[in-house]
C-alpha cells in the first residue's frame, strides 16, 4: 500500500520506538530561551507532547527523536551565505527585526532541530503512512532571509530532501492551512514541477506582500467552520487526483481559530479537528503517506494553545485507528 523501495533514513533516531503506533516526532530542543514578554509562544512545544501523554492519546513509546538538521540538508533550500551568517550570528539588526526574533545560539539550535523533526516526520510517514511532529510549519522563511517568526523553512527543506532522496523524483504536495500564506514555501518551489504548494489563508493578513503558490485560496475575514471545510474539500480531492503526490506535507496551523490573536477567521476546536481529520483521511485512504506539522497559533494562554495544537495528533490517532494502520 505504501511505496517501498530502498530508503536511506537520514536519521538514525536516538530512540527507536518499539510500538507500531502512530509516530510522534518531538525533541526537547524544540524550545529556547526568549527575552521576557516575547510575543512568540515558545513554551507551547513541550506542552503539546505533555497533553498528548497526560490525556493518554499516545505513550512515550510512540515518540521519535530527530537529529539536528545539518548544514548540508539545509543548503538544499537556503543559500550558503545565509546559512553561514545565520549559524554564526551575523544577521543584522534590520533582518532580525523582520523575523521577530533576536538572534541567539539557542534560536539557531532550536530551528535546526525543528527542521530535523519535520524531515524525520516525512521519512517515517514514507515508511509507515502517517507521522506527526510537535513543531514545524516555518513557512515564511525564504532561501536567503527569515521573516515572521520563521528562520529556516522546514517544510521546504523536507520537501526538497524527500523529492530527491529516491531513485526517481518524488512528487510532494504541501498543504498549508495556516491562516497566513506560506509565502516562503511558494517562492522556493515556484519553478519546481515536482513540488505542488497549496495554501488556504486569510487575504487581509500578514504577509500583505503575497507570493504565488501553485494554488492559493484567499479567504475573507470571519469565515466559520462549515464554509471553511467546504473550501478545503473543494480542492484537496481533485489536487490528489490530478497531481498524484507520492508524499503530502501538511501544515495544520491553528491560527484560523476564532480565539487566535493574529488570525481573523472563526473556526472552533471542533472545526479544526474536522479539518485535520478530513485532510489526513483523504490522503491516507488514497494510499499516500502524510506527515504533519503544527503550524502557527498565537495566544497568551500557552496551555490552551498547546491543547489546540494537539488536535492534529488526536485526529491522526483516529485516522490511524480507522485505517487499520
Amino acid at each position: 500500500m505504501f511505496p517501498c523501495g530502498s530508503m536511506d533514513l537520514l536519521f538514525t533516531p536516538q530512540v527507536r520506538p518499539e510500538s507500531s503506533g502512530l509516530a510522534i516526532i518531538h525533541h526537547s530542543m524544540y524550545v529556547c530561551e526568549l527575552p521576557a514578554n516575547h510575543r512568540f509562544p515558545m513554551a507551547k512545544f513541550p506542552r503539546v507532547l505533555h497533553f498528548l501523554l497526560q490525556d493518554q492519546v499516545i505513550t512515550e513509546k510512540q515518540v521519535w527523536v530527530p537529529e539536528i538538521a545539518s548544514k548540508e540538508l539545509l543548503s538544499g533550500v537556503h543559500t550558503e551565505g545565509y546559512l553561514n551568517n545565520f549559524i554564526s550570528g551575523r544577521i543584522d539588526e534590520k533582518e532580525q527585526r523582520r523575523t521577530g526574533f533576536p538572534w541567539s545560539k539557542g534560536i539557531v539550535r532550536r530551528c535546526r532541530y525543528e527542521t530535523g523533526g519535520t524531515v524525520l516526520a516525512a521519512e517515517v510517514a514514507l515508511q509507515r503512512g502517517l507521522a506527526c511532529s510537535t513543531a514545524g510549519g516555518t513557512h515564511h522563511a525564504f532561501p536567503s532571509y527569515g521573516s515572521g517568526f520563521c528562520l529556516l523553512n522546514d517544510l521546504a527543506v523536507a520537501g526538497k530532501y524527500l523529492m530527491n532522496s529516491s531513485s526517481r523524483n518524488r512528487k510532494v504536495l504541501i498543504v498549508d492551512l495556516d491562516v497566513h500564506q506560506g509565502d516562503g514555501t511558494a517562492f522556493i518551489f515556484k519553478d519546481e514541477p515536482s513540488v505542488f504548494t497549496f495554501s488556504v489563508h486569510c487575504g487581509k493578513n500578514f504577509p500583505l506582500h503575497k507570493q504565488q503558490s501553485d494554488l492559493d485560496i484567499s479567504i475573507e475575514d470571519g469565515l466559520e467552520d462549515k464554509e471553511y471545510l467546504f473550501t478545503v474539500a473543494d480542492h484537496l480531492p481533485w489536487l490528489m487526483e490530478s497531481f498524484r503526490p507520492d508524499l503530502v506535507l501538511y501544515d495544520a496551523g491553528i491560527d484560523p481559530h476564532w480565539e487566535d490573536e493574529l488570525g481573523r477567521l472563526r473556526l472552533t476546536d471542533q472545526g479544526l479537528y474536522q479539518r485535520d481529520f478530513y485532510v489526513m483521511k483523504t490522503v491516507v485512504s488514497r494510499g499516500v503517506p502524510i506527515a504533519t506539522v503544527i503550524g502557527g497559533g498565537y495566544s497568551k494562554d500557552i496551555d490552551k494553545l498547546a491543547r489546540r495544537h494537539s488536535i492534529v495528533h488526536r485526529a491522526a490517532t483516529q485516522v490511524w485507528r480507522e485505517c487499520g494502520m
Binding site: 527585526r97 523575523t99 515572521g148 506582500h209 503575497k210 480565539e259
Partner: protein, 375 residues
Amino acid sequence: MEAAEIDDILDDWFIESLKSYKDLHVYQLEHPTQVLEWTSRKTVCVAGYSSSRNEMLELRLPLKLLADENKGLCAERDFKVVHGGFSEGPICCLRHIPGTRCVVTNDGQSSDLQLWDLGGDDCDVIRRTGSIQGRSVSHTGSRIAAQRSTPPQVLHGAQSSNVQLTHLGTGETLYKLEADSEDPLSCLKFVGDTVFLASCCNGSFCIADTRTSAAPQVSPAPSGESVLWWTDASAAPQQACCKVIRLSSSGQALVSDLRNLGGTVCKAQLGIQTPPCKLEDVTVLWAPALDGCFSVSGFSGLVQIYDTSGWRTELQDTQPLFQHCGHAVSSQHTDDSVPPAITSHVWHPERLRTLLSAASDGSIHVWDWVEPERN
C-alpha cells in the same frame, strides 16, 4: 512606491508591532474626528468636523482589548457603534459631563455650546437637548471642562476674559473668571473639585477656584519669541502635587509645579521638523497613571511619549520613550503622498499604557504599548 514595496513596509511594521504593543486595534471611521472623549471606561465619543452636517458617535472599545483575563473568549476585535446622532455644524470640542449621559460641544467658530443627550440602553440616538450662549465673539472656539458635580455644571470660554461656569439645567452663570486676556484659550481643565487651570496660547496660564471670586494666580508667558503654546495639567487629588506642562510650537517643553507658579521644575527641547501653526493641530497630555510621562501629537504624523523624570533645569535635547507610527504606516495603502495628521489623542483614564489616537484619514487606533527596554 510599488505596491509590493508598500506591502513590505506594512509587513515589517506588523512584525515590529508584535513586539512594541501588547494590543493594537485599528478602526476606520467614514469621516475623521478631531475629538476623542471618554464617556465611560469602555466607551468614547467621536464627531466629524466638516463645514456641514456631521455625525457624532459613541463607540465601544473592542472587547478583546478590555478583557484582561480570558482574552481568548472575546472574538470581538472591532469598535462598535453604540449611539449615534447628527450635528448641523462641525464639532471641534466635545466634553462629557461626568455622572450624566450629557455631552457639551463647540463648533470651533463661535463661543456657543450645544448640549446633547447620549441616550441609554433603550435608545441608540444621540439627541440635541439645548444650547448655551457664549459671551464673546471667537473664531477659534471655546474650551470646555467639566467636573462631577450636583447639579451638573460646565466650565467654558474662548478667552480667559470670558470663562464662566454655567448651570446645565437653567443656563444660569454660577461663576466668572476675573481675567482680561483676549488671547485664545489653549486649555481649560479642572485640577481639583473646584480648582481649574486656564491657559492661553501665548503660554501664560492661571489657576482659579470656582468657589471664590478671588483673583486667580497667574503664571506669565515664557520669555522668548512669540510662538504658540499648548498646556496640560495633571489632575491630582490634592493640588499640592499638580504639575503643568507647556509645549511651544518650536518644541520647547517646560514643567512647572502648581506650588510655585513662577518657576520651572525642568525643561527640555523636543526634536521638531515642521512647527505646527494652528491651535487645533497639537494635543499635549500628561499620562493619568504613569508618573512624569506625557504624550504629544501634531508635530509629525506620530504620537510620541516622553518621560520627564530625567529632565533638568537647563535646557537639553530629549528623545521620545515611545512613538506610535501606526497611522503613518497604515496609510501607505492610499495614493496620497502626504501622510495623515494626528487630529487628536487621549489616554485611557485607568489603564496604564493604553491610548486612543485619531488621524485626518478617518483612522482610529487604540493601542497598549510596551515600555521599551532602557539601556
